[in-house]
């Protein structure tokens, strides 16, 4: 075996001292060490420093400090759970809407040809009317709620299948409170599932967006 010189072997000495080398590398290092006292001394230094470090434990943490931290983290976890519950409420609302839809099978239609029936205000559901004000009121905790809602929105969109997204000026589709906002943009999302209509409301200046999902009502 051709032995490597000191420069070639140098940085492998840590790996050798730590038992982290592959067999071939280890053999190459050992062949070099057998001839080089300087590198043997370096290996000894690497081991010595390692032993010193291992013996130098950080100051112990009093149990009450861990307990206090544990309580703080439990509070954080409780806050997260609250956000999840709010999100779950939105999902339940969507389920309620679905339950109100007709039980009989609907005929399958091409999304592009699907007429959009008028939507009575009463059927617009509680989702947006409840979510909007609560999210805004809890601004400091917004990240959790917004992320959770975003995740659900993505899941719902996947479930119904997106065919196209286009901007619309059809404010007749919007809940009254949003329809009167000049900086609200509406995006009508064309979906492949003919049983749902999806509209996204994006605030022009605020970092909020709402998604409206509603079942298509039966013609009768």
């Amino acid at each position: 075996m051709t032995t490597m010189d000191c420069d070639e072997i140098r940085t492998m000495l840590a790996g050798y001292a730590d038992g982290e080398l592959a067999a071939l590398e280890r053999e190459a290092v050992e062949a070099h060490l057998a001839q080089c006292g300087r590198c043997r001394a370096i290996v000894a230094d690497q081991k010595r420093v390692q032993r010193v470090l291992e013996s130098n434990a950080p100051p112990p943490v009093p149990a009450e400090r861990w307990s206090a931290m544990s309580r703080r983290l439990a509070d954080e976890l409780a806050g997260r759970k609250h956000a999840d519950l709010v999100t779950q409420h939105r999902l339940d609302s969507l389920d309620d809407l679905e339950d109100e839809s007709p039980a009989e099978p609907r005929e399958t239609r091409e999304p592009a040809a699907r007429p959009r029936p008028p939507r009575p205000a009463a059927s617009r559901g509680p989702v947006l009317k409840v979510l909007g004000p609560r999210v805004k009121a809890r601004r400091p905790r917004l990240a959790w709620v917004a992320h959770a809602v975003g995740a659900i929105a993505a899941a719902v969109l996947l479930a119904v299948g997106i065919a196209a997204v286009r901007r619309t000026t059809d404010f007749g589709l919007a809940p009254d409170a949003l329809a009167t906002q000049a900086d609200v943009e509406l995006h009508e999302v064309e979906v492949t599932d003919p049983n749902y209509n999806v509209i996204v409301y994006a605030g022009g200046k605020k970092d909020l967006a709402f998604m409206w999902v509603e079942p298509v009502e039966s013609p009768n």
């Binding site: 140098r10 940085t11 492998m12 000495l13 840590a14 790996g15 050798y16 001292a17 730590d18 038992g19 982290e20 080398l21 280890r26 060490l33 043997r40 370096i42 290996v43 000894a44 230094d45 690497q46 081991k47 010595r48 420093v49 390692q50 010193v52 470090l53 291992e54 130098n56 434990a57 950080p58 100051p59 943490v61 400090r65 861990w66 931290m69 544990s70 703080r72 983290l73 439990a74 954080e76 976890l77 409780a78 997260r80 759970k81 999840d84 990240a143 959790w144 995740a151």
Partner: protein, 212 residues
Amino acid sequence: MDRAKEQAAWPTPDKGAGATEAARDAEAARDAESVERLRKGDSRAFDDLFRRHREAAYGIAYRLLGNAEDALDVVQESFIHVLRGIGSFRGQSSFRTWLFRIVTHAALDWRRCRAVRLAASLDAESSPEPAATGERRRSPTDEADAADLKEAIDKALMNVSEKNRVALVLYALEGMSYQEVAEALGISVGTVMSRIFNARQRLRELLASEIG
């Protein structure tokens, strides 16, 4: 030292790899199970993860910051980050590796913020090296000696360049393998080895008077 004696002084590189690896695998499996339970909303799962890893997280933060109070703040911040980010944790690395990466970044951020506030006094490269102060150590009880050594090591660690120190701390003090350190830092195993080597060589210089 004659050759035979010297040969005996080079312990065969062996960290008890088999047993250690099996223990690590078992720990990783337990963590993965806790992560799954946490995702489903089981708060006890988070408590399990916190209890199992808080000391190691503290050890890393302490070695990177050299201050217990700062280290505890970083640990808390890191576990909050875990809680908030658990949904995005894909399990490509072990939970432990992921957590240590979070702790490392949090500690380095913390240190940078502190450095901004105390720029002059905390400039590691320009501060006098502990070994070069020429100060005679107190004559000493064993306890005082140990305290002095501890202080010297903590100071010396702060005088190792940040990237080398991070690699050394993760490997040498928290029992990660080179591969795990590489994953945690997003660098190659060769780079890990080189950084650890350089960090130890630097410590050897800085602690010359303490460790002989």
